[in-house]
Amino acid sequence: MLEIKNLHASTAGTPILKGIDLSVAPGEIHAVMGPNGSGKSTLANALSGRPTTEVTAGEILFEGRDLTGMEPETRACEGIFLAFQYPVEIPGVGNNYFLKASVNAVREHRGETALDAMDFLSLVREKMKLVHMPDELMNRPINAGFSGGEKKRNEVLQMLLLEPKLCILDETDSGLDIDALREVAEGVNALRSPDRSMLIITHYQRLLDYIVPDKVHVLSDGRIVRSGDKDLALELEEKGYGWIESELASNPAASDARAEGVRG
């Protein structure tokens, strides 16, 4: 599904990702954890093609095709979905209108017919139930005045509507209370399928209680410094990120070797 090879990326000229290698098979859920500033959001931006993130080296293969250089809207239509850490407000644009435009853009790309207002409405009602979203949010401008929880539900709702192949969740748990977290996770779990992969970016372990990952990776200073199964997340929770950092410090050869790779 997704094959990242030696990915380097910069934001505003500052190198952030310094050689990421990651492989996600269809149906797998991978969690990417790491302290603030380790490059988690930059990874999400590089995968989804945000123009402000520049890929300086390496490859991102999605279903065997290199994504670098592909427009973000094309990636979206091909099935890459990013649930934003900070969903954006667009004044005056109805949520309903936006979601319909999005669904139909993706359908058109897939060669399917556009949904009319009635079909869209019944589809959206069905999906809204899964994330416990009140109807009135559809008639408000997108994300404008939504609470933190409503914004995140809205992100997951869009994911349910677009049925992407690769879901990237960027700190979807941030700003959620425990009930909202559980309900949002329910929505995500409803999408689990053998041919859909997920990359869950999170600072904390708690989301992973509800969405159990197949693999966990720890990001530090733009590199994956450790990978393991779901127990790694629990270990991190217990020992804190300092544990990884200090281990790296006591074994500098490993990180130097990667740094060499950057120059080469």
Partner: protein, 491 residues
Amino acid sequence: MSEAPESEQSQLERLASSEYKYGFVTDIDTDQAPPGLNEDVVRLISAKKKEPKWLLDFRLKALARFQEMLEEETEPTWAKVSYPKIDYQDIIYYSAPKQQPALESLDEVDPELRRTYDKLGISIEEQKRISGVKVAVDAVFDSVSVATTFKAELEKQGIIFGSFTDAVHEHPELVKEYLGSVVPYSDNFFATLNSAVFTDGSFAYVPKGVRCPMELSTYFRINAAGTGQFERTLVIADEGSYVSYLEGCTAPQRDENQLHAAVVELVALDDAEIKYSTVQNWYPGDENGVGGIYNFVTKRGACRGARSKISWTQVETGSAITWKYPSCLLQGDDSVGEFYSVAMTNRRQQADTGTKMIHLGKNTRSTIISKGISAGKGEQSYRGLVKIGPRAEGARNYSQCDSLLLGDECGAHTFPYLEVKNPSATVEHEATTSKIGEDQLFYCRQRGISEEDAISMIVNGFCKEVLSELPMEFAVEAQALLGVSLEGSVG
């Protein structure tokens, strides 16, 4: 008083005879005054239109004043627009209406124009009408009968709606009473020029207590299709009446004449309401602004009666230069003035537009919502005056001026003027300037929406409060128009 309704038969005959006239192209073509502005030209225009003496006198007074203005060099220069000096002696002020050469099919229409028509969702029949393609007789008959049906419906209610010239002949008492009563012939440079040389325009009168059953649109005024360079419009809503008037067209309009100086006067008597909506899409000029229309318009409405209301809604996307301030004189107690505006400048377009709300009566209220969008190398200014007279006890105004910038080569400016002479007045002004955020664009694109569609969506959202004031079908077209006008503003 009004004549008996014109029968379908006689309408067809008139159409047939106009086709016949088309045979004498050369005759019509020579029917043109030499360039220059003088008394002979004004007398010629008046004579060609077989006008009564009082109207000729009105024109001559305006001409005399305009000539003084030329000598005094009082052409307004305060607007934030720049253009080469206009030589008013180099303009042809009278030219008989020309028949467009009829085209055999839409294939002969400029493909660029056709692409725009398609994007705007203009029907094939409508495209043919606009481009002057010969239409089958039954299609002509259809549109004639639609127009006739409407005309009959309007006449039944005593509503007068037609060309200004027809009104001068058929309802001289109304024209004489109201012409120049809101915009006097000496009002301003361009209005004075218009008063001297205006050629035609529209006239509407809605009698006491009548609610006009349909939007009055120039579209159904097929006998006077096409707007002139110096257009004159007069709309009168008698006591307790209501009318919604639509001006313009979302289809791109090209014109050989660069200078357009129209005057629109509205009069609302006691308890009357006029809603005046405009979509302006004149040719904006090429990438360098060459060849675009100069749109120097004076629009003003008088809320003369108590509890009367005048509401201006405009979507201005065309013209190289726009100089336009649709205004309300709130004379009647408890009268209401509204101004809702979207102005978009792209490429090298310049717009200096806004409104004047003059509060004279007690408890008068006004609302100003102005949305300016600037892209490319466009320059845009909101200029608005809110004036509260000494007698206007309890007057209230709310103004909101928002500007949206696309790119960093365009400009947006706000010039609000306030004159408050009554301490009981409440005046509020809010202004914002924003850019389309990188985060907003990326959010849309990450959901599969193309960059161009995303910009169009964000801009439409920005203008929503104004677009929602437009009559339904106009609003849909205006949304499409904003998208088309933004083309080429990204990347």
